[in-house]
């Protein structure tokens, strides 16, 4: 019984912790973006205030929407975003680590986006339909380079003769930077550049923010969402930032796993900040939105090429 209560406390801790951390990083992102644009920016806790405000606002459901899909999609999106964190090693090994959890995690990352697509399509709005269409194209685009990028550490672990190569815990406990030569290190650095672009795409941030393009399609996939439904989607996005960054930390930056828990957590926060700053804040601030007709070409062309070159250099 005591064990069960302990597990429940741990689950609650991860839910609250991931949401809070995601919202804090969103606040930091907003401040840094504002500073780069020579603005003052909102307070760091602004995302929390936004969620509180949305929870007390009306949750309008369009007249001809499929109500149950429209309302269920944001909850599923948030649930799966949190669920992913149980399979990723954050401080030490993951809670639900298995032998093929990397494949599972890559597939689970499809669900939050897919539920937004379903919710948008069920809203019977033109803007939401266009947004959903763009989100599908975005997802089709980044999945390919994402698969290549995830395969590089798997290959290195396999080449070094370890078992359970698709286990995130296995990859996390073996520093991949020590398994390559000098050319391989250049390959891994190129792979990291591709990863920053993949993260920006996965989170639908500029220059890949076509699905929610405010100035073009009035919020796109999220156009009809309001109140608590929109709050759930915002929370899902915040947790997704943590989840996708944590995945790449486990794959490419698994250092300092021998120290004590508090130091490990602080180092994890620093790594998280580094990844979020480059892939979200920096890329978002210095780029503008791509055209929808160019998006897949950019992913399957340039980003995939970067990921493949990185992989080929690692092979040497």
């Amino acid at each position: 019984m005591f064990n069960l209560i302990l597990k429940f406390i741990l689950i609650m801790l991860i839910i609250i912790g991931s949401i809070s951390l995601g919202l804090i990083f969103e606040g930091i992102d907003r401040i840094l973006t504002a500073k780069m644009q020579k603005r003052v920016g909102p307070p760091i806790l602004q995302p929390f205030y936004d969620i509180r405000k949305l929870m007390i606002k009306e949750s309008i459901i369009p007249k001809y929407a499929i109500k149950w899909i429209f309302e269920l999609s944001p909850i599923i999106s948030l649930t799966v975003s949190i669920l992913i964190l149980f399979y990723i090693p954050i401080v030490g090994k993951s809670i639900l680590g298995g032998s093929n959890d990397l494949i599972l995690v890559v597939y689970l990352f499809i669900f939050p986006g897919l539920s937004i697509v379903l919710g948008a399509l069920s809203s019977n709005s033109t803007y939401s339909n266009i947004g959903a269409q763009r989100l599908v194209i975005n997802m089709l685009g980044y999945e390919f380079p994402l698969a290549i990028a995830c395969f590089v550490p798997v290959w290195l672990v396999y080449k070094s003769g370890f078992s359970n190569i698709f286990s995130l815990n296995t990859i996390y406990t073996h520093n991949i930077w020590g398994l390559v030569n000098q050319i391989g290190i250049i390959g891994l650095l190129i792979e990291i550049i591709a990863i920053f672009l993949i993260i920006a795409g996965e989170l639908s941030k500029s220059p890949f923010d076509l699905d929610t393009a405010d100035s073009e399609i009035a919020g796109g996939a999220l156009a009809e969402y309001s109140g608590r439904n929109l709050a759930m989607l915002n929370l899902s996005e915040a947790v997704k930032i943590i989840a996708i960054s944590s995945l790449f930390i486990a794959l490419f930056f698994p250092w300092n796993i021998q120290s004590n828990l508090i130091i490990m957590f602080l180092i994890y926060i620093l790594k998280l900040f580094f990844i979020i700053f480059i892939s979200l804040t920096l890329i978002k601030t210095v780029t503008s939105r791509f055209k929808i007709s160019k998006l897949t070409g950019i992913y399957w062309g340039y980003v995939s090429l970067l990921a493949t070159i990185g992989f080929l250099l690692v092979l040497f």
Binding site: I11, I75, L78, I82, G97, G98, Q133, V136, G227
Partner: protein, 101 residues
Amino acid sequence: MSIVYQPKILLLLFSLIFFIIYLFYLTGEKKYKKDTVQTIAYFSGKTPYQNIKLQNVYWGFFKNFEKLYLFLSKIQRENTNDYVFMFIIWLTFILLTICLI
């Protein structure tokens, strides 16, 4: 660490997190003014036709590879031998790549 991936635990955990999130969701405001103008889906300009085809979901994808599709359509002669020939070429390429690696 478990040796194999366990779908039962995944589903159980999913249900538990879903339940907790749903409880939090219920604390939000659920009322809105039904059958008023605010429930009409937002659109600025002339109302488009209602039945949007599902194939439009992939429009951006097809548009992006338009040149490739046109090229492929051009070389397609509807001859089975061509397909078998291409299959053998790709299979050889894949097997050679695997052997070399």
